[in-house]
């Protein structure tokens, strides 16, 4: 067990990362996921969190693509000055 841990620590490279840190990060990640946010943290495995993160990122990417498409279409139809203004607003 300890050898395993030390091995995993070796894998993790130069920075000293404990399992606790990983768990901490995973729970942080979990807080960002709307599907898992309301669940109790001890009931969700790390693999599940990571899987959900992957799904969520894919969803967000698709959403962003759709939104940008829509935006571009919308902006194309509007006045260029206003479009420029909105674009500048969106850049923030």
């Amino acid at each position: 067990m300890s050898s395993r841990r030390s091995r995993s620590r070796q894998q993790s490279g130069t920075s000293r990362i404990t399992d606790d840190q990983i768990t901490d990060l995973v729970s942080k990640l979990q807080q960002l996921l709307p599907e898992l946010r309301n669940r109790r943290s001890d009931k969700v495995s790390a693999a599940k969190v990571l899987q959900e993160t992957c799904n969520y990122i894919r969803n967000l990417n698709r959403e962003a693509d759709d939104l940008s498409e829509r935006l571009s279409e919308l902006l194309a139809t509007t006045d260029t000055a206003q479009a420029a203004l909105i674009r500048s607003l969106l850049m923030q």
């Binding site: 067990m1 990060l25 992957c54 959403e63 693509d65 969106l90």
Partner: protein, 436 residues
């Protein structure tokens, strides 16, 4: 086990006493030798079932051999229970044999009493028997003793058969069976011998204890084997879990752009940051989508649609109407011909007010900008009451926000100017815009 052995010690002492009492018999050696042979046979028979201990019982004295044998036997692991029994038996067995030897030594000069010799044999047999099957009832022991002694007496042809029949009672009152010829000498010798034997016994008991400790150690070893097996299983499941996590981690890494971190923690950090930025980006874009129609006063009611629809209603484009118009709007002629007709409202105004508080600032600005446009649209609209209907909540909204307007506007202007160069998620827009 020790308890048992201690229990059996007084019995042997009784035997001792008994053999002292009967040691004056002259014809004893032969008988006892015979009895011993027979006893050995019996022991063999009895022990044959338990395997290799038999060898030991003929080797008589050595306790080390049995431990070796037993320990080698014990390597079968799953016979711990049996082993314990054998161990016990070995400790039991040792004494009868010892005892008979002792008797033989003692009884060389003595002669006559067949019955006592038989009794000794019977006694030993019963002892052995009880050791092999500890739960045996006393009656069966007696009968066993009787059988063996009868056999012995039949071979002998001696007249002590009747006496032997009651050997159990005789042994139960050891001292009084027969008179001794040398009462003075024997006790002393016997004392000495007994002391030696007691020491021997102690030694043996220590041996046995050692042996039992050994056995315990070995059982402990086997439990640790079990434990290690459980740990192995645990390790296996742990490894599987880690593999799954690593797999997901890799998938995540592929999803995160420009992430070439090899170690998990920074990977997760990166993922968290990326997720946050993505969320922000989507929020901003949906806000922007909500902002565009806001320039047209007629469709300001559909802002909630844009704002709320950012999650799942993404398929909705300008020329893809998703929802049928609700009654209010269906009855009205919409002032703006461009976007309003294509966008289906999903949420009533209050819902929007409640649910999307975030985009306020930008919308205020957006609202602020197209104010003249709104008026112009309103003037253009032939259907005044309807427009008033639409404008009413909007103006409420505006009026509410206008108190904060100067500050807000300043802020947003400052942000608009300052944040332009530092955008990380900007690239999508110009590209898309230029393409569209």
């Amino acid at each position: 086990m020790n308890q048992r052995m201690n229990d059996c010690v007084p019995e042997f002492e009784m035997d001792d006493d008994y053999s002292i009492a009967t040691s004056s018999v002259p014809s004893r050696p032969k008988k006892s030798a015979m009895g011993r042979v027979e006893e050995d046979d019996d022991v063999m028979e009895l022990l044959w079932q338990n395997g290799q201990v038999v060898l030991q019982s003929q080797n008589q004295r050595s306790l080390k051999k049995p431990t070796e044998i037993l320990s080698s036997h014990n390597q079968n692991q799953n016979q711990q229970h049996l082993f314990m029994q054998e161990d016990e038996m070995a400790s039991w067995l040792h004494y009868p044999l010892n005892d008979s030897d002792f008797c033989a030594d003692l009884l060389y000069p003595s002669a006559t009493c067949i019955t006592s010799a038989m009794n000794v044999v019977a006694r030993e047999l019963t002892v052995v028997d009880s050791s092999v099957t500890p739960a045996l009832a006393p009656e069966s022991r007696v009968s066993e003793a009787r059988r063996s002694t009868e056999r012995a007496s039949g071979r002998d042809g001696g007249g002590g058969a009747r006496n032997l029949g009651t050997c159990e009672t005789v042994t139960s009152s050891p001292g009084g069976s027969s008179a001794s010829a040398e009462p003075a000498q024997k006790p002393a010798v016997d004392d000495r011998k007994r002391k030696g034997r007691e020491a021997d016994e102690e030694c043996h008991s220590e041996d046995v204890e050692l042996e039992s400790a050994d056995a315990k150690k070995q059982t402990r070893g086997s439990t640790s084997i079990k434990r290690s097996r459980a740990a192995e299983v645990h390790n296996l499941s742990e490894r599987r879990r880690r593999d799954r996590i690593n797999e997901k981690m890799k998938a995540l890494q592929e999803l995160i752009p420009r992430c070439n971190k090899s170690d998990k923690a920074s990977m997760l950090d990166e993922a968290i940051e990326y997720l946050k930025s993505l969320q922000l980006q989507v929020q901003m874009m949906s806000m922007g989508c909500g902002m565009v129609p806001m320039m047209f006063p007629g469709i300001q009611q559909f802002i909630p649609n844009m704002g709320m629809g950012m999650g799942m209603g993404m398929g909705m484009g300008m020329n893809r109407p998703m929802m049928p118009f609700p009654n209010i709007i269906a009855g009205s002629t919409l002032p703006t011909p461009t976007a309003a007709t294509h966008l289906g409202p999903r949420f009533p105004m209050p819902a929007y007010m409640q649910h999307v508080p975030a985009p306020d600032r930008s919308r205020v600005q957006a609202n602020n900008q197209p104010d003249p446009m709104l008026n112009s649209f309103g003037m253009q609209n032939p259907n005044q009451p309807r427009v008033a209907n639409f404008v009413d909540p909007y103006q409420q909204y505006l009026g509410l926000q206008q108190m904060q307007l100067p500050v807000v506007q300043n802020q947003s202007m400052a942000q608009a100017s300052s944040s332009k160069p530092s955008t990380s998620k900007g690239p999508e827009f110009p590209e898309n815009h230029s393409s569209g």
